[in-house]
Symmetry: C2
Subunit: 161 residues, 2 copies
């Protein structure tokens, strides 16, 4: 056995944020699982149902902050399950449009009722929520900058440019 | 196209927290990726290197807040990569002990130097970090309670009991 590694105050805060996020995410997973959906699937349904323009897999991957290949695999599975349709865009070659099927629309409406875990944050006061927004904004700016620094190579991540 | 669905203030805060967490996580992924590791792998190395007692796959899954089958698959891959060893415990039947190999120890030491993204939180003041801890604590308590409520069935999640 080795000596215990001490985390500094920033690393402890990151660990705390990670555990907290995972706990809330687990609650959301369970809630969606009760209706046969996963978190990424619910995300796809949400963006397709609320988008004001036709969506391609690439646009979806930008909106969902996920890698194109991840979204592509997700869409293939959802098409197999009958939740979405992918069709070639007739006006623009090589463009694929993603749309909800009837079954997908029904699944979207069902999950709209499942918002208990999304409202987990209701235990915070208005003031605490404001502070959380400010904190998140700072962390995101810093995070995006770190990502940029690490991606100065030719294979940089298109999601964060 | 459908009407845009309005999120309430709690749902907006949850969305903000999600995007923030994913951004920081992406930075961490990139940093670890530079040394050929993933976030869950780094987690396993961390717990094995710092634990004061021998670890089994079940103990690891509790510490990492992940499902036993996920940790089991992770350990199989890491054993294939030569990072960990799993051996039957001679004193206790059916117990498997997980330990670091020489290569795993080296990988752990390398990742100790990769703490830039863990320190992303250094953009916050001491006061903001304190508030973040308080907020996280409240959210975790609420999240764990939601999970308990959803798991009153026979197949409840052993991680949150």
């Amino acid at each position: 056995m080795r000596d215990h590694i001490e985390l500094n105050e920033h690393e402890r805060a990151w660990e705390n944020l990670t555990v907290t996020y995972r706990t809330l995410q687990r609650a959301r997973e369970l809630e969606l699982g009760q209706m046969g959906l996963t978190i990424p699937q619910a995300g796809v349904l949400h963006f397709l149902a609320t988008s004001k323009e036709p969506l391609t897999p690439m646009k979806l991957s930008r909106q969902m902050n996920r890698q194109p290949h991840t979204v592509s695999a997700l869409l293939t599975r959802m098409e197999d399950q009958g939740l979405v349709n992918t069709t070639k865009d007739l006006q623009r070659k090589n463009w694929v449009r993603v749309s909800l099927t009837k079954k997908g629309e029904e699944a979207f409406k069902r999950q709209l009722g499942a918002r208990t875990s999304l409202n987990a944050i209701s235990c915070l006061s208005e003031n605490e929520i404001d502070t959380l927004h400010t904190t998140c904004k700072k962390l995101r700016v810093n995070g995006v900058e770190l990502i940029r620094q690490m991606q100065r190579g030719p294979y940089s991540d298109p999601l964060f440019q």
